[in-house]
């Protein structure tokens, strides 16, 4: 465990933010608030990405997730004007307890595993600017990941078609 460095401080704050608002997202009664708290969590994740030497991903995180997807959510929520989530009191108690237990246990178990598992040595090359990360991604996209990329395009097409189809009111 290295000495208290700025990186560590930032990490701590970010993780508190992320986890805290994630919890908030779960505990919130109104969907809108859930979405908004998730936004914060995503920002936390974006910070992590930067720390993990993936600034481009961080940007995507903010743009696509916080930006696009969550806004889409908000939009739908407004569309269906789901102001209030039904009160949880009448909900199914067993489901709640067991669900809580399951989540907790799984979280505990997995993080326990994460801590106990032996860590492979991370590479520690000489310090160079991150400048050539994005070109690298680009290059990879059009070489090794070409097929995946193409497939992705069709996937998005399908998504578009499907969304369009489902949200159409009448058949013709």
């Amino acid at each position: 465990m290295p000495a208290l460095s700025g990186e560590l401080v930032v990490f701590t704050i970010a993780s508190i933010l992320a986890i805290g608002f994630a919890l908030a997202m779960v505990l919130q009664k109104t969907p809108v608030r859930s979405v908004l708290s998730l936004v914060v969590t995503f920002f936390g994740l974006a910070i992590f990405s930067i720390q993990l030497a993936a600034p481009f991903i961080a940007v995507l995180q903010v743009f696509v997730y916080a930006g696009a997807i969550l806004v889409l959510f908000l939009f739908v929520i407004m569309l269906l004007n789901l102001s209030q989530e039904a009160t949880e009191e009448d909900a199914r108690p067993i489901q709640r307890r067991l669900g809580f237990v399951a989540a907790l246990a799984l979280g505990g178990v997995l993080s326990g595993a994460a801590l106990r598992a032996p860590m492979p040595k991370g590479v520690a090359p000489a310090i160079t600017p991150l400048a050539d990360e994005i070109p690298m991604i680009g290059r990879l996209l059009f070489s090794d990941y070409l097929l995946a990329f193409e497939a992705l395009s069709f996937l998005l097409l399908v998504a578009a078609v499907g969304a369009l189809l489902l949200s159409k009111r009448r058949f013709e």
Binding site: E7, L52, F100, L104, L106, L140, Y145, L155
Partner: protein, 111 residues
């Protein structure tokens, strides 16, 4: 697939910490999935789970100094977007018919 991570400083924060955070977020997302009643909230939680996994990917990529992890995350984000659009469309269609997205009230098909 190859593609080494461009050299960066050694990690000041132990990777385990990132993993734990990621796992916890995953668990929280799961909790949301299991505890929320609003279909959207549930899907929201699932999105959270995916992001938690993304964090794991990034961490591992960083640990191994390997691009692959980042690439995967890139794709996952895109896929998540696609899923979101379809999913929300389904919610809308459902709402049109049933006037609700409360999963506890959506149980015509059972047993």
């Amino acid at each position: 697939m190859t593609g080494a991570l461009p050299g960066v400083a050694p990690m000041a924060v132990p990777p385990g910490a990132y993993l734990v955070v990621g796992t916890l977020l995953f668990a929280i997302g799961l909790a949301g999935t299991l505890l929320k009643r609003n279909a959207l909230s549930i899907f929201l939680s699932i999105e959270l789970m995916m992001n938690a996994v993304n964090l794991l990917f990034l961490t591992y990529a960083r640990m191994r100094g390997d691009m692959a992890g980042q690439m995967i995350v890139f794709f996952v984000i895109a896929i998540a977007a696609a899923e979101a659009s379809v999913g929300l469309a389904i919610f809308v269609a459902l709402f049109r018919v049933r006037r609700t997205v409360d999963v506890d009230e959506i149980a015509l098909l059972k047993w």
